[in-house]
């Protein structure tokens, strides 16, 4: 992948001294002259999660449209606002706040700079110049729950969460509902580690769950989840074939990083796509300012990756498809947090 270094150099070396082009002027979809930026939360741009996804979305945008893109990482919570302001004051056409935690900073920057355009992922900011993008994680989690419920041999399934906050709660509730829908006998044990960045805690949580005969764990715990994968890999190296354990990944197709032998499937959350699409809408003069966009199954913004077919049988995938349609049609409502 291209390094941040090279990319951002472009952004820095081509400061458009002229006033930013008005968004509607670029009907030809060319993003030249557009400056679009994002601010990460403390996770940093290489968090293998939403920050990274968002940055990938912007890089694709740069490649496709020629817009210049840039990011700033926040080292601590006080930086959220100052980093947002760095771009806003530098007259960027659009500044993204990536992640739930950025909510207040985006709100503040938006109110104080009514001319600026901002967008936020994973949170809702009530301001006329902010586009809020959230995901229906519960819907996607429901589907991986279906996979887990139908795949488990022990009828015991684990969920490892980071911190109990609304977003993660959505994962949990959707997942449990999915399992119960297809396998009411299965027991889902929920473990929260209290951290998103402690692989050792994830590993220990996974160890306890696997020892307790759970054979599948769905994690929604960021870096803590790495520990879950490592524990599973570890076990599968020595375990008999019928004792094999699985992990369900999160956000991205984690089988790419952790391999097919442990990754049953993943619950995709297409932050990259969301960032790409909305930024493109801006270039096209179609920025959903002041709107809340909830991206769900119907938008293909959450769901299972194609690679799932490696480990998940055709029948189960059919079942998944069936439930997907039911959710889209509204026949099933997946519970959500608060």
């Amino acid at each position: 992948a291209c390094g941040a270094k090279n990319n951002t150099n472009n952004g820095a070396s081509s400061p458009s001294a002229s006033a930013p082009a008005s968004p509607s002027a670029s009907a030809d979809n060319s993003g030249k002259g557009f400056k679009i930026a994002m601010v990460t939360d403390v996770g940093g741009v290489n968090d293998k999660s939403f920050n990274q996804g968002a940055w990938e979305g912007l890089k694709k945008l740069e490649a496709d449209t020629g817009a210049s893109v840039k990011y700033l990482e926040s080292k601590e919570a006080t930086n959220y606002l100052t980093n947002m302001n760095q771009f806003v004051r530098d007259k960027y056409n659009l500044t993204w706040g990536i992640g739930f935690l950025m909510g207040d900073a985006v709100k503040d920057a938006a109110t104080k700079n009514p001319d600026a355009q901002l967008a936020i992922i994973d949170n809702v900011v009530d301001a006329p110049n902010v586009a809020s993008i959230t995901f229906a994680e519960n819907e996607g989690s429901f589907l991986v729950g279906v996979v887990a419920g139908l795949t488990t041999k022990t009828n015991k399934i684990g969920f490892v969460g980071g911190i109990e906050i609304p977003v993660i709660k959505r994962f949990e509730l959707g997942f449990v509902a999915g399992v119960k829908a297809v396998n009411p006998d299965a027991k889902v044990t929920v473990v929260y580690t209290g951290a998103f960045d402690k692989a050792d805690l994830g590993k220990a949580a996974a160890a306890s769950l696997y020892n307790d005969k759970n054979d599948i764990i769905f994690h929604a715990a960021g870096g803590t989840g790495n520990g879950v994968f490592n524990e599973a890999k570890e076990r599968n190296k020595t375990a008999a074939a019928d004792k094999k354990v699985w992990v369900i990944g999160v956000d991205k197709d984690q089988s790419i990083e952790f391999g097919d032998d442990v990754t049953l499937t993943s619950m995709l959350k297409r932050v990259d796509q969301a960032v790409y699409t909305v930024s493109k809408e801006l270039i096209a003069g179609d920025f959903p300012a002041g709107k809340i966009t909830v991206l769900g199954l119907k938008d293909d913004a959450v769901g299972l990756p194609d690679t799932s077919s490696k480990n998940v049988s055709k029948e189960i995938l059919d079942k998944v498809e069936e439930y997907k349609q039911k959710i889209i049609s509204g026949e099933i409502t997946v519970p959500t947090a608060q």
């Binding site: 270094k5 700033l72 006080t78 606002l81 100052t82 760095q86 935690l101 207040d104 951290a195 608060q338």
Partner: protein
């Protein structure tokens, strides 16, 4: 006042200055190795901090908590205690202030002061626990403060989750405006930077630290205990009480850092995944400042300026901001080992002399 001057001019003022220069040189060398342009980087850094009123104001905001936690660590050091727990005390101070700010409602002239007092007290009490355990049970404060940091983190999350949570926000409700301590006019002057009264409290605390420790009889007691607890006991000073008191004050300083972050900057408290680092930075600041109140102030200014400017470095020169931690580390290193500076200067002047001969 005599002593005050002595403190400022004590270690030949030249050493910290050279230390800073050397630290920046170390950073430059590392940047060169990485293929970055150090001149551009440092210019971007300065530009970020002094380039416009907004960032200047925000730099002040970044410096403020460092003064408090730096004072906290330095105060404990002066009384013979190593407080690694400023982090936890900071978090607890924050929690106390948020609780008052969110759950109680009163006029501004009561609300903000009450929030400050409660947060400060809770920070102090959190420090006092470690002091008490040391005094009463002989438990090493290094261990307890480390453990109390983690306990504070989770206790604060518990409090936010169960008593303060704004549903769906992952943080507490906003505190009442009556509890806020922002300085409207200055903020407007500085282009909406989040400047707040905490700054001035920090300066007051610097003065308090100096006056209390070096001018009052209680401070005298604490210093005696810190320097020679056996002699203190022989002199009839209650050593255990002093330890508890010292940790209370140390904790209160750190607590105040958290208080003002809530009342002046965030206006709410988020559920935290991991420690903020302000407490640990406080150790560095205390060391930079040689555990002197005035030194701490300068240390915090240096630390805060470099840290805040680091974002400018990555914005303007694409230099990874981690460099700044190396720079800060090197500065502390050179401050702490003036021997190295003397040695370097000797080498340099020796070389120069040699050069002249040739």
């Amino acid at each position: 006042m005599n002593k005050f001057l002595k403190i400022i001019t004590k270690e030949s003022a030249i050493v910290p200055f050279i230390a800073i220069v050397l630290g920046l040189i170390v950073g430059a060398i590392i940047m060169l190795i990485g293929g970055y342009d150090p001149i551009l980087a440092y210019r971007s850094l300065l530009n970020k901090v002094f380039g416009n009123p907004y960032d200047f104001g925000e730099t002040l905001t970044a410096i403020t908590p460092l003064v408090f936690t730096g004072l906290s660590v330095a105060f404990a050091f002066r009384t013979g205690l190593f407080n690694i727990g400023a982090e936890g005390q900071y978090i607890m101070g924050m929690t106390g202030a948020t609780f008052v700010g969110v759950n109680l409602h009163m006029p501004w002239y009561l609300h903000a002061p009450f929030a400050i007092i409660v947060g400060t007290l809770i920070g102090g009490i959190w420090g006092m626990i470690a002091g008490y355990l040391k005094a009463a049970r002989g438990v090493n404060e290094v261990i307890t403060t480390i453990m109390l940091n983690w306990i504070a983190l989770h206790l604060a999350n518990y409090t936010v989750n169960h008593f303060l949570l704004e549903p769906g926000k992952g943080r507490s409700y906003m505190i009442d405006p009556s509890a806020q301590v922002t300085i409207g006019w200055l903020s407007r002057l500085l282009d909406d930077a989040r400047v707040h009264w905490g700054m001035f409290f920090a300066l007051l605390c610097v003065v308090f630290f100096y006056v209390y420790l070096f001018r009052t009889k209680q401070g005298y007691e604490l210093r005696v205990v810190g320097s020679n607890s056996d002699a203190a006991q022989y002199a009839g000073i209650n050593v255990n009480k002093s330890i508890v008191k010292a940790m209370f004050i140390s904790g209160a300083f750190a607590g105040m850092a958290g208080v003002f972050q809530v009342l002046g900057v965030f206006m709410n408290q988020a559920i935290a995944a991991s420690p903020t680092g302000h407490g640990f930075d406080g150790i560095a600041v205390a060391l930079l400042g040689g555990n002197n109140p005035v030194g701490v102030l300068f240390g915090a200014v240096l630390f805060g300026t470099l840290s805040y400017g680091a974002a400018g470095m990555s914005f303007g020169a694409d230099v990874p901001p981690e460099i700044i931690r190396i720079v800060i580390g090197s500065v502390i290193f050179f401050v702490a080992a003036p021997g190295i500076i003397r040695w370097l200067m000797k080498r340099l002047s020796a070389k120069k002399r040699k050069g002249e001969v040739v």
